[in-house]
Structure formats: C-alpha cells, structure tokens
Symmetry: C2
Subunit: 381 residues, 2 copies
C-alpha cells in the first residue's frame, strides 16, 4: 500500500467532497438548474477575490489561458506595458505580450529575489506612457512572494492599470482585490481552490473597462465583453466545464465555512513551519526572506543528486515534490503546501525530506526537521 502525497505547487489534493461533486450526474448548461449554481458560484468568487465592484469570470482553460485573456482584452496594439519578471511566470506575461505585438519594458531580478516596489516606481517615472503593469503575486518557479499592495499603490498613482497573476496567490495569501486597487487578477482552479486543473478565474474591476472597451487586439474565445454579458444572464458565452464548476461550488462552500482570513492564516502557519523544518536540517531556503507560503524552495545541498531523490520518493514512497524549472533544474527542490493542506501534512513533508536525504547518504539528524516543524506548529517553539 502506497498512499499518494502531493507536495507540489499545484495540482494539489482535491477533497473527497469536491471530487465527488465533480462526479455528479451531468446537467445541461443552458438550464435554470445550471444557472442557479453558476450564479451562486460567481458571487462566491467575489468573496474569494475580496471584491464587491469586480466581476469574476470563469474560463474553461488553464491559468495560462486566463493570462492570455487578460493581455488580449486590456491592451491595444499601440500600448506599452511594464512587466515585472522574477521567474518563469513573470516571463510568461512578457512572452504573451510579445506574441500579440505589444511593446514591453521589464523589471528583471535574479531568480530567488522579489521585485522591489521602488524599482517599479522608478521605471514608471522613466516611462510615462506605460498603460498596464503585469505582476505576479507568488512566483511559483522560485517560491518568492511579491508585495502587491505596495506595487499596486505605486501603479495606481501613475495612472496605469494593475494586472496580477495570482494563480498561486488566491486562497493562499491575502489578496483583497478592491482594497489594494488591483484592476485585473487571474487565478487557476488547481491551487488554493483545491480543484483539479481546468478552470481559470479572472476578476475584472471597474477601472479596467475603458481599456477593455477600446482594446483592438483580436479575441474570440477570451472576449471579456461577451463574458460580462453572459454573466449578467447567469451563464457563459461558450460551453462551460460543468463538472468542474459544480465541484468549485463545493470547494467554495468549504472556503466560506473556514473563512478566507483563516485560510490565509492556515497557509501562513504551514509555510512558516515548513521553512523551520527545512532550516533545522541545515538546508538553505532559496527565496530567503521573500519566501511565499505557497511553496518552500530549498537549495539542493552540494554533492546530492536532488533529481534522483525526488524520483525515489515519488516512485517508491508516493511523495511528490518538484524540482526546479528551467535554469533552476538540479539546483533546488520545492515543497508545495497549498489548498487542501493541514498541519500534519507539514510533518509528513518534512519527514519525507529527512528520509530522502538520509537514504541518499546525506548526513541528516533524523527527527530534527520534524521536531522543529512540530514546535512551530504546536507551541511557542
């Protein structure tokens, strides 16, 4: 018997209640029965994004599709955008803008670091014609969290629009859409929402609409104007992913019952305990003080074949960690802790890290990591 432990920054474990909701009998999407669920879900999603004024659209796509939707709706050909790049997902914004022929200016920081809000301010002062700023709340490729509140304040002052990839942020880190003055935010279903992948959610605030109305980039499937019109009728422009939407309603019931602040606090506690466990084993955190509560990225110790350890844990013990992506491959490993995750999951994760390192011949004091995690979780440490 080998249980399945998924410590990845998405997909995450899906609660059985949610999985069974997904498996419920099909309903047709052009019926009042579906519209009732969809309408309730769309209201719940406003709670998730902490918005009263924004509309939240549900897209049948992965998060990347949601990002493309943001770009083609908010920008026009002659616009200039500022993209904040601290890893693979920031770079994705830039790639999508480039695909649609939009000129970009970037702020690039070394992997493992966060973009400094004051650098954003300087760039905006240098480039008065920036129309939209694209940011990433949690840069999953490096485990770094950005200070969206501070960045958003600066962007607002400049008159530009603020678009945030919060794919691994929503339902994990605090993200009050209205309060922070964000204009568009996008997330995916397989992260804080505890669902399988296949849905993207895009929250669009009132200030973004003039740019959307005037946008001349080509769009059909991704058209926000059509989505807004359909949402008013409690439906979608094209066939929605019915089973995932029904499941998402169940996941939202769970999130509402816990309360969004408690969800954020849980992730904060779990992220902190994971970092304490890792540090107690003498390992180095890759993201340092900018570490998110999404994923703990750890520098692979010298002389260790981290790829082999990840593979052995996954194939022999059922524990899935992820390695680094792109240029980070072989240099870091990542412990995800989002969505359907509780305190005991941290103990299991750190236990698996101890086991993997020990069995590879790396000197670890067994119990030291899980003890540190336990102290961080339970007592005053």
């Amino acid at each position: 018997m080998k249980k399945n432990y998924l410590f990845t920054p998405g997909p995450t474990h899906v609660p059985a209640e949610v999985a069974l909701a997904e498996a419920q009998p099909s309903i047709h999407h052009r019926t009042p029965q579906f519209s009732k669920i969809f309408k309730e879900l769309s209201e719940d999603l406003k709670y998730l994004f902490q918005t009263k004024e924004g509309d939240v659209f549900t897209l049948a796509s992965s998060g990347t599709g949601g990002m493309e939707a943001c770009v083609v709706n908010v920008l026009s050909k002659s616009d200039k955008a500022l993209v904040l790049c601290a890893g693979k997902f920031g770079e994705r914004w830039n790639e999508i803008c480039g695909t649609f022929g939009v000129e970009t200016v970037t702020v690039d920081v070394e992997y493992g670091n966060a973009v400094d809000p004051s650098v954003v301010e300087a760039k905006l002062n240098e480039n008065k014609d920036i129309k939209v700023v694209f940011a990433t709340q949690s840069e999953t490729s490096t485990g770094v969290l950005h200070d969206i509140e501070a960045i958003s304040k600066i962007v607002k002052k400049s008159g530009a629009l603020m678009v945030v990839d919060t794919i691994t942020g929503i339902g994990i880190h605090k993200f009050p859409f209205d309060e922070w003055g964000v204009d568009i935010a996008v997330t995916g279903s397989q992260k804080g929402c505890m669902l399988p992948p296949g849905l993207a959610f895009v929250c669009v605030g009132p200030n973004a609409w003039p740019a959307i109305e005037g946008s001349d980039l080509p769009k059909y499937y991704w058209d926000f104007k059509k989505m807004r019109k359909s949402l008013k009728d409690a439906t979608t422009a094209y066939t929605p992913s019915v089973s995932l939407i029904v499941a998402m309603k169940k996941a939202m019931d769970m999130i509402k019952e816990e309360g969004i602040e408690n969800v954020w606090n849980r992730h904060a506690r779990i992220g902190n305990a994971t970092r304490e466990g890792v540090k107690a084993l003498g390992l180095k955190l890759f993201a340092g003080e900018n570490a998110s509560n999404v994923v703990t990225s750890v520098v692979a110790p010298d002389g260790v074949d981290i790829g082999a350890i990840i593979k052995k844990l996954r194939d022999e013990s059922g524990v899935t960690f992820t390695g680094g992506q792109g240029e980070m491959k072989g240099k870091i490993f990542r412990i995800g802790h989002i969505g359907y995750v509780d305190d005991f999951d941290v103990i299991v994760a750190i236990s698996a890290v101890e086991k993997g390192l020990c069995e590879s011949g790396f000197p670890v004091e067994l119990g030291k990591g899980i003890t540190a995690a336990q102290k961080a979780l339970v007592g005053n440490g």
Copy 2:
C-alpha cells in the same frame, strides 16, 4: 424521486465508470505517472479519429477554443478562407476568421439544409486563391449532417486545406480522418466522448504543417507547434485538465471495447428509431433527408408553445430536450442522442415527447411514437 434524462446534443450523460475515474486522487502532471496515461490516451485518440499519420492534441478548453486554435494556427493574415455555413456553428468559423482579420468567402444555405458539395466545387473554381476550407460535419443547431467525404475530395483537388468541426461528429458519425483526406479536425469532450465538457481534441494531419509553420496570426495558449513538441515528450505545454484526461482514458477504453464501427452503427440505429418515432406522431423533421444521428430536430407543431413543454418536462419530469437556438427559437425542438446512449433511451425520449405534447393539449395517439421506435429498433419494423 426524479431521474435525470439528458437528451441534449451535449453535454451528454457520463458513464459512472468515467465519472469515478474523474474523481480519482490528483496526480501531478509533470511526472512519469501522468505521462504514461497521456501517452496512451494520445494513441487512443488516433484510433478515435481513425488516423495513423495525424497527431491529436488535447486542449484545456471547450470546443470553441479548439476552433479558434485551428484558425490561428492554419491561417495567415493575407490568406483567404472558404466557410460553409448551414447554421450557428458554421457561422462561428466565419466569426473567428473575421476576428483575426482573415478574408472569407461563404457558402450559405437556409437553416435545415446541408451545403451541396457541387456548390463548394463551384466556389473553389471562382476563388482560386482559397487557402483553407472550414466545414462542419454535424451542424448541431439544425440537426443537419454534411457529406464531409465528398466535400473533402473536392477541396483536396483544389489544393486547399480541409478543416472540419466534428465536435458532434467524432464518436457518433463515421469520420475516418486519413481515408477522407481531412487536414485538421476538432472535437469536444462532452459529445461522442461521453465526458463532461472541458477538453477539446484537435487532430492535425501532415499536409497541414507547412501552413502552420508559416502562419503569422498571433497565438500563445493555442500554439500547435508547442503542442506537437510537448506531445513528443508525452506531456502538454501548459497545465492539462488532469481529472478530465484520466476520465477520458476510461471513456476511450469503453469506446475501444465496443469498437468504433459499432459506435457509429449504434448511433445510426438510435438516430433512425428516433426519427421513426417522431414521424409516427405526425411531426415533421426539420433536417429532412440530411438529418444527423446526433440530434433529431423537430418542427414545433402549430399552436403549441414548445418552450413551455420543454420547461415542464425538464422541471417536472427530469427530461431535458433543447429548443432552437437564435432564429430557430420557438420553431423547433431538438432530441439529442449521443455518447452514452442505448436503445432504451430512445423509448424514453419518445415517451417523453408523447407525454409533453399530450399534456399540452396537442392531439397525440399515446403509444404510437414509442411503438414505431420499438419496431425500428427491434425487428424489421
């Protein structure tokens, strides 16, 4: 107790085995465990499309997303396309081409009719510069089936590429991709594949690649070149809809066990029996001799409020038919019979038609429709 009977042209009923596969524990998509399933599924999909030379891509989107993907990959800005329009879905090809600034010529026929292959030939002769022809195998909005074999032969002769929306065709009507010389075909998961909506499958043949390689329309999420590269590594460019993919593998196991020819024959038998049942009640088929085995569209009899009948059957008896779309609203009703459907479903569907009409005050001889259907299904009629 009210059972759920879904007689719509998608979403269709999902077999319990498939729904439960969808509800299985999450696996991470960047693992050999996922790649094994995805590789097997991608091979199974070649069987579904009856292709040896084509590649089948799995997209996280609805069928409309798959259609947009075809347009932006195969066309370039300066190209001219021919679009065959016999209803709402043919018109959708034209709308998408227009969105991306591609010039189109159309063949338009009155709703309820099919495009005549000889008219396609004439149009291609008049417009020697047509690069791509967009067709619809089964026009779900009217219930009409097109002769893709004949049209494809004509298109091939002209040197243009043949792109087919077979969203309600694949797994229902005969569609041998290689044998008919189709270049690109797209389907969705919630039709013949017996899945919930949320996946599109696009089959790309070898002759389409030069156009794809040379295409200058903007694409990121929909990029076939990236999809082909990822497919070679048994993965996807962006996060796939893992739960739907696992479910689709189960659905393909069922389709392979039945055999694709038997799947086509089953739909032919069921489509025929439905039409016989409807005709026996004195009702008129909207699509006449061009009727598909996907959906039986029936002219609403004079003096009957068809919308009210559909609503009552759905809300009180759990039986979902669909009305007409767009300008067909109130004029027809549609009985879907695709995917997870057997002979007894026809009896239930016709029984519900009898019940709905009778209760509305329309004169029907109870039992006449189901008897005709029964005779068509069981004996020599």
